[in-house]
Amino acid sequence: MARWGMVIDLDRCTGCQGCVIACKAENNVPAVGAKEAVRGRIISWMQVLTEVEDHDQSGEKMRFVPRPCLQCDDPPCTKVCPVYATYRNPEGIVAQIYARCIGCRFCMAACPYNAKYFNWYRYQKEGPGQNPDVSVRPKGVVEKCTFCHHRLQRARDRALAERRELAPGDYVPACAEVCPARAITFGDLNDPGSEVSRLAHSPRAFRLQEELGTKPKVIYLAEGEGRG
């Protein structure tokens, strides 16, 4: 079975936020408005974190870290959910059932990456211009990045209709598709021939908060010679 994963090359990331916008458009992520944004309630399944490193010799360096849900293989969020509203599916994607979530926010408190977001109000209604493949979330539930799971379902349906196996480029999340610097690579980590599993074994590869043992399937490539 496939094990979907993502590699993000920090050498290539320019911090353009293209992935953030593509994600919001693809997944009907609501714009919460300026007032709510000031109160710290922005919903952004993909978020570009900026880290400032202070070096003695070479001065300050800015680092951009795009952070989707890391789709942990041992997710701290699913362990604490009281109602099976968040779970890790057989292909390794950490899903959220919006119709079941009771809004206790335990998973938000447990996620060490702050990758889960809450609908503090009803931020949007169903309307034109939305992606019909992704349900609009009601108020009071937690939502998160799903690796554009609806795209997987659609790709699988198409492959079935065309009587063939799912091909490597058939399923790509919106962020990976849109990245102009091609910093994001997506694919099956279980397929040893795939680009993503080749990159995941690069000596530059690392995972966020690796020491926590959450086994994220989003892998970063540290800045190499290209940096500076």
Partner: protein, 453 residues
């Protein structure tokens, strides 16, 4: 046994028989606060949790703090009353009922904090339909409902003889008292069964109470978050719970002592003993806090230290040091010498501990969430009127429940006071004699000693 002519304890029945203006003033005042809370919750219910000050990353705030705090207060009762009963502490007699009532009333308030905190209260029953036992929240639900059931039974059983007194004496609410008295006539057999039942419940309720605050702490310690993921959280929370519980009990006793003129029953000696218990718990609480923070500090794990410093010198310093002041310094200073002005000192210490233990819960919940591991920037949490209103309303609702209870049932156990006079005195003397060396056994030893010399 329910002797109509026995008028020695009439003062205990007075609040049930007569209602003064003070009662209506108190109910009116509490109703205003409850109204504020109701307005707050209805606003939140219609608009969503957005009306609170919660946000990303501080997604838990006042409600979760209140939950831990109120559930903690509930340990007053049952645990203290159970321990006093089992250890045969004779001074318990006017204290136990008040403690047990706190437990039952505050558990309703504590458990409802979770409902208030939910984004989708309409889906609460999903916890039963899709309940997932791997989640500490399910452990909470189980443990708290078991505790509530046990506490209600443990409050009710020792009340039966008193309800029978009310049934025989009062002309009002005959049906209620007759049903609840369950045909109590005070026969020797009934008394034996009652005492057995009380003893069994007292033993049963202690492990349940300990489990309750342990699993409340597990909500935090089962995550990987800095300064939550700690092995001592279970006992630390239980100690804090008993600590705040005793404080709440003392405050309730002082209020009803003044309001209902119970000076003859609640004497300075009772407050002195409870004050000493509070002092011991203050020391124990300090020990746990010290151990918890010193371990974190020595390990010096960067993520832990971020939270640690935000409490010690960072944005949360006023709350942290206020907690140390109110939970340790003030109570210790008040309680070390209780010779004179006992009640005043014990009251100050207890009020201080109640504030301090609320701050302790707050300082556990919020700073950890405010300091995320990834570079998001510190989360700023400031509650809105909704959270303040809900909190005020919760306290007021608890007080109102308590007050209404005292208008229906005696707040001091009448039969246990009588039993103390009639049976207890003799029993204690006999028990004391069994502690001492037997004169029959001593005799020969003395004579043999005399022979040697």
């Amino acid at each position: 046994m329910a002797d109509r002519a026995d008028n020695r304890d009439a003062v205990l029945l007075a609040p049930i028989e007569r209602t003064g203006a003070g009662f209506y003033w108190a109910v009116g005042g509490l109703a205003l606060l409850i109204l504020w809370g109701a307005a707050a919750y209805s606003t939140q219910f219609t608009s969503g949790l957005g009306v609170t000050g919660l946000h990303q990353p501080v997604s838990w705030g006042f409600y979760v703090t209140n939950f831990v705090f109120f559930i903690g207060i509930s340990h007053a009762g049952t645990l203290i009353s159970a321990i006093l009963r089992l250890s045969k502490a004779e001074w318990r007699r006017p204290v136990t009922r008040m403690a047990e009532v706190i437990t039952v009333m505050v558990l309703f308030i504590g458990a409802s904090q979770i409902l208030i905190d939910l984004g989708r209260p309409d889906r609460l029953l999903n916890i039963l339909r899709y309940g997932r036992y791997q989640s500490p929240l399910l452990w909470d639900a189980t443990s708290i409902s078991a505790y509530l059931t046990a506490s209600i039974v443990y409050l009710y059983i020792p009340m039966i003889p008193d309800i029978a007194i009310l049934r025989d004496r009062l002309d009002r609410r005959k049906l209620l008292y007759s049903v609840l008295a369950m045909g109590w006539r005070g026969t020797a057999r009934q008394q034996t069964v009652l005492n057995r039942a009380i003893a069994i419940m007292a033993v049963l309720v202690i492990p349940i109470a300990v489990s309750v605050h342990s699993v409340v702490s597990f909500v935090f310690s089962m995550t990987l978050q800095p300064m939550w993921h700690s092995t001592i959280f279970g006992p630390y929370f239980v100690v804090g719970a008993i600590f705040s519980g005793i404080a709440a009990l003392i405050v309730a006793m002082i209020i009803f002592r003044a309001a209902y003129g119970l000076h003859a029953y609640l004497k300075p000696i009772h407050f002195r003993y409870l004050g000493q218990l509070l002092l011991v718990m203050a020391a124990l609480w300090f020990y746990f806090t010290f151990a918890e923070y010193l371990t974190g500090y020595y390990g010096s794990e960067p993520e832990e230290m971020k939270v640690f410093w935000s409490k010690f010198t960072g944005r949360f310093w006023p709350f942290f040091w206020a907690m140390v002041l109110t939970n340790f310094l003030i109570p210790v200073l008040c309680l070390v010498r209780l010779g004179r002005r006992t009640i005043g000192k014990v009251l100050i210490a207890s009020l201080s501990v109640i504030v301090g233990m609320w701050l302790e819960r707050f300082i556990i919940v919020v700073p950890t969430l405010s300091n995320p591991r990834l570079p998001f920037g510190e989360g700023l949490y400031w509650p809105t009127w909704v959270e303040w209103g809900e909190t005020a309303g919760s306290f007021a609702l608890f007080a109102l429940f308590y007050l209404l209870f005292t208008k229906l049932f005696p707040v001091i156990s009448i039969w246990e006071i009588r039993e103390g006079r009639e049976v207890g005195l003799k029993e204690v003397e006999e028990r004391l004699l069994t502690y001492l060396p037997d004169p029959a056994e001593l005799g020969p030893a003395e004579s043999s000693a005399a022979e040697v010399t």
